[in-house]
């Protein structure tokens, strides 16, 4: 969204600074926010460099290499993968699924030489933002590995999801102050905003920037390490323009890399004139489903072009209050999104909500099961595009594309859970690590023991086979040994059938409703799963209510 903000800047000859009163509050919030990212990055540098030192003189064939990489990945929840690259930029070892193991022996996407490392005084290097062939976007932290005699043997690398890196702290900032963040590199490349599909776009020269502007905020932000400005921009839905205040500062890393951290307010978003018809949630889940089914029949009895035209028509029959039909192809490219038509044609497969749930991937997964209900957090057009939990119903039109619509859950507000999410990811990755150093039945016993050292307060770990047999489930041990593929919550959602393919594809986050035997009702949960062995996946969950 930062890009949209920047792209949407309009000619504004009377550019003004943020008012003193406003500035004090915003600057205070920024001063509180910036150190959290700095501390997280310093921790990542420290862990990466320590692992590099521990791997000094260790042969790539040694089992300690895999363990060291797993430990490092466990300790950095924002990491995608950890891997080792030799002096020829060839990947020698990597964590992850068998698919990811195929990259061993191939060239790394970031070619960093010993000279690069020497010029940064042998500290860790932070790369520019990149997009890998598999669609993963982020940065890489690279630390050199030296033999005891000082010979350079390669690097250890941690690929980081910047959305994960920022989102926990941004979620807290939004909750505490109502502000949000966008961040760019010195070259203008967007490394964080809540609309993660825009990450990697260059705010200075991307083609989306079409309006002539006499004042370019992105240029000012890249030129000056700190400052403040009020400017006019389009809101999230490109519905209308409004005034936004921004205060920014800079984070500098030991290798000279700088990130501008720009804190913005939501004044203009809150000022959007919402049609009264859109201002409250007046639909039931049953009406939501009927609405999507009506669109399904339409799509099945018209050409795809006719259907998409109707779904994208903001004055058409497929918009009713907060309900509107969206459509994607099975690869995640947007086909219809009436409130955000600028995203039509954009691939959103990797798009994440503020918690890190890849919502388009979740919708595709549900579609592949024939459709049904799915949860995500998404901007609510009726609430100034604020992120809210959305309960969507999706249906495949055929094996190539699908449609859906969603309801915002008015009575469901969750506290920011960034810290707990990170603990949950680390816990599951710890199971991966432990599975390499102890027999699986011993690990399962530890999982099933509520007093064992691997338990974390507020987390509910579990383990299952890929055929659905529950090996461990701390929340309800009575179901251990059962097959859970047939278990559904009150909305027909089967966690087992959702979690297995997610784990098989490398893991990730999902929202769901699960039965809490203590409360004797379904509760909202955030779940994280990862593959652990060839036959099993492990997971953990947080109750969000």
């Amino acid at each position: 969204m930062a890009f949209i903000i920047v792209a949407g800047i309009v000619t504004h000859p009377d550019v003004v600074s943020v008012s003193d009163e406003k500035y004090a509050g915003m600057h205070g919030a920024l001063d509180e926010f910036t150190p959290t990212i700095e501390e997280d990055m310093n921790e990542i540098f420290s862990l990466t460099e320590a692992t590099a030192r521990n791997l000094s003189g260790v042969s790539m064939g040694d089992s300690s290499v895999e363990l060291a990489l797993l430990q490092l990945r466990r300790d950095i929840p924002a990491s995608y993968d950890t891997y080792i690259v030799d002096t020829n930029n060839t990947i020698q070892a990597i964590t992850g699924t068998s698919e990811e193991q195929k990259s061993v022996g191939t060239q790394s996407c970031a070619n960093i030489t010993e000279e690069d490392l020497k010029s940064s005084k042998n500290t860790s290097i932070v790369t520019s933002f990149y997009t890998c062939n598999d669609g993963k976007k982020g940065i890489i932290v690279i630390a050199p590995i030296y033999e005891a005699n000082g010979t350079y043997t390669g690097t250890i690398r941690v690929s980081l999801d910047t959305a994960y890196l920022f989102s926990g702290a941004v979620d807290q900032l939004r909750s505490d102050y109502g502000y949000t963040i966008w961040s760019i590199q010195q070259d203008g490349c967007l490394i964080y905003y809540e609309d993660t599909e825009l990450l990697g776009k260059n705010t200075l020269n991307n083609e989306i920037y079409t309006e002539e502007s006499s004042f370019n905020v992105a240029q000012l932000v890249t030129e000056k390490p700190e400052g403040n400005i009020s400017y006019v921009f389009y809101n999230v839905g490109w519905v209308e323009k409004g005034l936004i205040n921004a205060v920014w500062d800079t984070i500098s890393f030991p290798d000279g890399t700088e990130w501008r951290i720009v804190l913005t307010d939501d004044i203009s978003i809150n000022n959007i004139d919402i049609d009264n018809e859109h201002s409250s949630s007046q639909f039931t889940t049953s009406e939501l489903r009927t609405f999507v089914e009506k669109a399904y029949v339409y799509a099945q009895t018209h050409t795809k072009e006719e259907a998409l035209k109707a779904f994208n028509d903001r004055n058409g029959e497929f918009i009713n209050g907060e309900l509107y039909i969206f459509a994607y192809d099975i690869n995640g490219t947007t086909l219809a999104l009436p409130y955000q038509t600028q995203l039509v044609g954009i691939n959103r497969l990797q798009a994440e909500d503020i918690t890190g749930v890849k919502f388009v991937q979740r919708e595709i997964a549900r579609t592949e099961q024939g459709g049904g209900y799915v949860y995500c957090q998404y901007p609510n057009p009726a609430k100034g595009f604020a992120r809210e939990l959305k309960f969507a119903y999706v249906m495949p039109i055929n094996n190539n594309w699908f449609i859906g619509a969603g309801l915002y859950m008015d009575n469901t507000s969750f506290e920011p859970c960034g810290d707990m999410r990170n603990k949950m990811i680390s816990q599951v990755r710890n199971f991966q690590y432990l599975s390499k150093i102890m027999p699986e039945d011993e690990l399962i016993s530890m999982l099933n023991n509520p007093n064992s050292s691997i338990q974390v307060d507020g987390l509910y770990p579990f383990a299952s086979t890929y055929s659905g047999t529950i090996l461990s489930y701390v929340m309800d041990p009575s179901v251990i040994g059962n097959n859970h593929l047939g278990y559904v919550n009150s909305y027909g959602m089967s966690i087992g059938r959702e979690a297995i393919p997610l784990a098989q594809s490398g893991g990730g986050l999902i929202y769901s409703l699960v039965w809490d035997p203590e409360l004797e009702r379904d509760v909202y949960v955030l779940i994280y799963v990862e593959p652990v062995t060839e036959d099993t996946y492990y997971g953990s969950m947080i109750i969000l209510e």
């Binding site: 099961q369 024939g370 055929s467």
Partner: protein, 139 residues
């Protein structure tokens, strides 16, 4: 007044003939393409407008639910026959008149991975017709 005719050489005649022939071929081809496009879009439109039975399948736990949304022959539908890739037999189920959905209980039990699911309709005149062919991901 003397009218003079320009003498046309054999080579010029061949050239003119070639142009005429090429033009005729292009016209025929373009006409053919447009006709086939029109016909195919007509067929597509026709099939879109008049599905025999419009239905939709989804997995709910261990069940497969078939939603019936109408169609010009929906009132003639008496049986639904489902075949899941990798399974030996078709599972046939009665469709009560006016039924909005039909549930194949436990049809997905124990199934994992992706499988093609074929749904056929048997009508009151005995006709057996393919209604849906979709790949479902069971896990």
């Amino acid at each position: 007044m003397v009218i003079r005719y320009k003498k046309t050489t054999q080579r010029q005649k061949h050239f003119i003939m070639a142009i005429i022939l090429s033009t005729a071929v292009i016209i025929i081809l373009v006409g053919g393409v447009f006709t086939s496009l029109f016909l195919s879009s007509y067929v597509i439109e026709k099939s879109l407008e008049d599905p025999d039975v419009l239905l939709h399948l989804n997995i709910v736990g261990d069940d497969i639910v078939v939603e019936i949304y109408g169609g010009r022959r929906v009132n003639e539908l008496v049986l639904l026959s489902m075949h899941i890739e990798g399974q030996e037999s078709h599972v046939v189920i009665d469709v009560p008149h006016g039924a909005r959905d039909v549930v194949y209980y436990q049809a997905a039990s124990g199934l994992t991975g992706s499988r093609m699911v074929e749904m056929r309709g048997i009508f009151s005149n005995g006709e057996d017709k393919l209604l849906s062919l979709i790949t479902l991901k069971f896990t």
